[in-house]
Subunit: 148 residues, 2 copies
């Protein structure tokens, strides 16, 4: 009788413990991801530039179907949730940066030959603000308010 | 012997099955949340307004420490990831809406007495664009590009 009891115990108990451990690991993964999301939010960037009224339609068309290489480069350089908004002759860009070295990622983007080709099409649509900082094309903005 | 075997089986099997079911439910929850995130992204809103140069500092101060009631109302009306950016005499607002009836949520916000008090302070800082649509204060913008 004890032999059978032992057999049952040996057979089911490890399965039960393995199953509990998997459940616990799953819970810890979710907690870890949640912590990362809360404690290390991406850095938000807002920037502004003017657009030539006669180039609005061309700019719209270009951005309705951006080249896949451009999208891939943006992603590779750690930019996420990237929108460009238009009103009158103003463009506003918003994105979130999830990398560790923004300057290095922006430099890598500027070095990319496809991005350079893309900018040859988009730059002539735009008129940079005179008040922009040295070295900027799009003028960086100050975030005066944020609520998660 | 069979009695003991049956006892072991009856005792451990339900525990094992319950444990497996919990694990499966956890997996399904994660899948469901992932699907929601991918297939039902929030709707993004961009809007723009001008600011009186002499009111910039007051506007900055107000938004550095917004009233808790205002933050709560914004949250209650399903607005998330809300930023306001400043450059020269322009303010740009970006937020994500996770509710089902934007017009109803905005109407509820406009009806809130604390929000009305808040707007009595912020409205005099701002100069709405003449090109804004009827009924707007902040002028809504067109999203011409988005990359997740």
């Amino acid at each position: 009788m004890y032999a059978v009891f032992r057999w049952c115990f040996i057979f089911w108990l490890p399965l039960f413990l393995i199953c509990c451990e998997q459940q616990r690991d799953g819970d810890l993964d979710i907690q870890a991801e949640s912590r990362t999301r809360e404690n290390k939010p991406p850095k938000r960037y807002g920037s502004v530039i003017r657009i030539k009224p006669e180039m609005v339609e061309k700019y719209r068309e270009l951005h309705a179907e951006p080249w896949p290489e451009i999208s891939a480069q943006i992603y590779r350089n750690n930019i996420r949730n990237y929108s460009i908004f238009l009103k009158d002759d103003y463009l506003f860009a918003y994105f979130e940066y999830i990398g560790k070295d923004f300057a290095a990622d922006m430099a890598a983007m500027a070095m990319d030959s496809m991005t350079q080709e893309w900018w040859k099409l988009t730059d002539p649509c735009q008129v940079p603000l005179e008040s922009r900082k040295k070295g900027e094309w799009w003028a960086s903005m100050e975030e005066v308010f944020h609520q998660h």
